[in-house]
Symmetry: C2
Subunit: 364 residues, 2 copies
């Protein structure tokens, strides 16, 4: 930090993203990317890019993509906000509703970026603890002082999902608050709140192309909400980076929606692989949350989380671990291909046995 | 604006970008894009994109692009910050140095986004007026109270450039301020301050791929500065959108640097075309600033700016006009191809004659 850096932000602790090693020699199960490539329509549109697509500014209104998303979700394009990643959507919402020390609510264990966005806006944060089973109790969110209520559903890194009816109750019980539901992982088995948008004028649902749509590299996120809330987000976007979404990603985003069956099939395969691997880990003495996301959140009954993380890394398998209260023993393991997961389970089996042997030697 | 929108930002007036009509039937001289396509190396790398480029998150450190830029500018990669457009770079700087009502200085006539960024940070703004000839007087920037000093060089929309020596004097005279020089247009004939970076620890130079590099559609901007200032910008990026630069644009940005001769040649052609068109407009009774950018800033001695703008638009030629004090009579005309500019001059000639005829009829 230089001596010029704003004192108002001197306590800002930036988000630490999962490692993106550039050598590519790892089985990469640490950042919840899809193991499957984007649909052929996406590669087709990128690989036939014309010079004009690069030379000219993008359409700042993102109208064609909004229209395509509106068709997919049974909404109007006025219900859609498009941005350069769902992180940017979240940032716009925190700015619109928390700037100038507004109130914000989120869980103690959830996506780590909410805390950073709150600090950046110098918002008043109320942390709401998950239950002992790491689930959100919807009643904890009733009748709060007006503010921004942020709920990841399914939650990260636990993967536990709330029924849409719980989101509805929370929004109805907080009519002077904006309720933002971050559905980054909903396509792997959660229940979406999108159908509630026409009823609830204070609900924002955010989505990303990074997980179920296999496009983390293209940076594309969006929000769905009542047009008035969308206009708030647009106002922030036009005050920060009106052209934030590049032309290639806009085209890729439209092309992807032409082949949704392909993505739905991938999500099914990922969910099946998740449940299969979870059972295999159970057999190796792991306990876990009921994940509805494209990751498993599990801990070993014999090997400490930190040690397991490090041994997997040495063996060429990257997973994610959060050095945080209550969850330090857990690993968050992205669901990869069948081969990835077989390699993971085999390696974990080796480590568990090896650690047991070492322990029993110590006992001798 | 919804009733939930932060009161602290209720006065926020978003930037209004130049029109991006999607029907494409205009001669488009309104947003300072390059009339020339990106180099063959760029189209090659995009058109051979592999699925992995889209499936996986980008490298948040943008290391390979930083290294390539460092080689091009004779710096270390630690001197480089890369972001999703130079608007995003500017936003990061305003956040880092103005959050919590810091001071900021910029000209009364300059890039309109500075004012928006300042409002977003609720910064204390001091506007420094241009001289009667619309040029920046460097002495007006000496010995200011500490803050962020922002200078577009060449300035927009005037196109007038300052010598690097003036930037040096300003930075030396304000050692407790950060001096940000926005060099979006420098490649068309301005003098860059990049060579001052090793000497001046309080200087940030920002650049964009949108103009001279023909890549407005890819969204890519960067800053060059002392590593300590770069780390400030990185801290803001990691607190807002660590993966803001998509993988396709990263690759395109690297590929472009392999063929810099092509871009330098384009810049020369654009500068020549600018000077030629400027002379032709002079002959039609226009006065103008001494633009060193890829646009002309000129006003007619007979047709009011608003009327000329509207008549050009009706004739299928888009230029930019700012409805602002002192410059309402001017048009900012992006330098296009030879054909574009011939069509523009011919149309202006028609309009000027037509207006004269109408005026003389009125007089009869």
């Amino acid at each position: 930090m230089s001596r010029f850096f704003s004192r108002a932000l001197s306590g800002l602790e930036a988000y630490v993203p999962g490692e993106q090693p550039q050598d590519r020699s790892y089985i990469k199960l640490n950042t919840n990317e899809s193991p499957y490539p984007p649909s052929p329509s996406v590669l087709r549109v990128i690989n036939s890019s014309q010079a004009e697509l690069l030379r000219l500014y993008p359409d700042p209104t993102c109208k064609r993509l909004k229209e395509a998303l509106a068709r997919e979700y049974g909404l109007s394009y006025k219900n859609i906000f498009v941005s350069n990643s769902s992180d940017e959507v979240l940032g716009a919402a925190f700015t619109a509703y928390c700037a100038g020390s507004g109130r914000v609510y989120f869980a103690d264990i959830t996506y780590g970026f909410y805390k950073v966005f709150a600090e950046l806006q110098r918002a008043k944060v109320t942390v709401i603890s998950l239950g002992d089973d790491l689930s959100i109790c919807c009643r904890d969110y009733f009748d709060l002082e007006p503010g921004l209520i942020v709920i990841a559903n399914p939650n990260a890194p636990t993967g536990i999902a709330l029924p849409a009816e719980d989101i509805r109750k929370i929004a109805l019980s907080n009519k002077d608050s904006v309720v933002l539901v971050d559905e980054a992982y909903v396509d792997f088995g959660g229940e979406s709140s999108v159908s509630l948008i026409s009823e609830l004028k204070n609900l924002i649902v955010t989505r990303t192309y990074s997980k179920s749509m296999s496009m983390a590299g293209a940076r594309l996120g969006f929000a769905m909400a009542d047009p008035e809330l969308i206009s708030d987000l647009e106002r922030i976007k036009y005050s920060t980076n009106p052209y934030s979404v590049n032309r290639l990603s806009l085209e890729a985003g439209i092309a992807a929606l032409e082949e949704m069956d392909y993505y739905r099939e991938n999500c099914k395969r990922i969910a099946m692989q998740r449940d299969k691997t979870t059972k295999e880990l159970e057999a190796l003495g792991f306990s876990h949350t009921e994940s509805r996301a494209n990751f498993i959140f599990a801990k070993s009954d014999s090997v400490p989380g930190k040690r397991l993380f490090e041994r997997l890394r040495s063996a060429g398998i990257l997973v994610r671990r959060f050095d945080a209260p209550r969850i330090g023993e857990y690993l968050r393991i992205t669901v990869g291909t069948e081969n990835d997961m077989a390699a993971l389970v085999a390696e974990i089996e080796r480590i568990v046995e090896d650690e047991k042997r070492t322990d029993s030697k110590k006992d001798e």
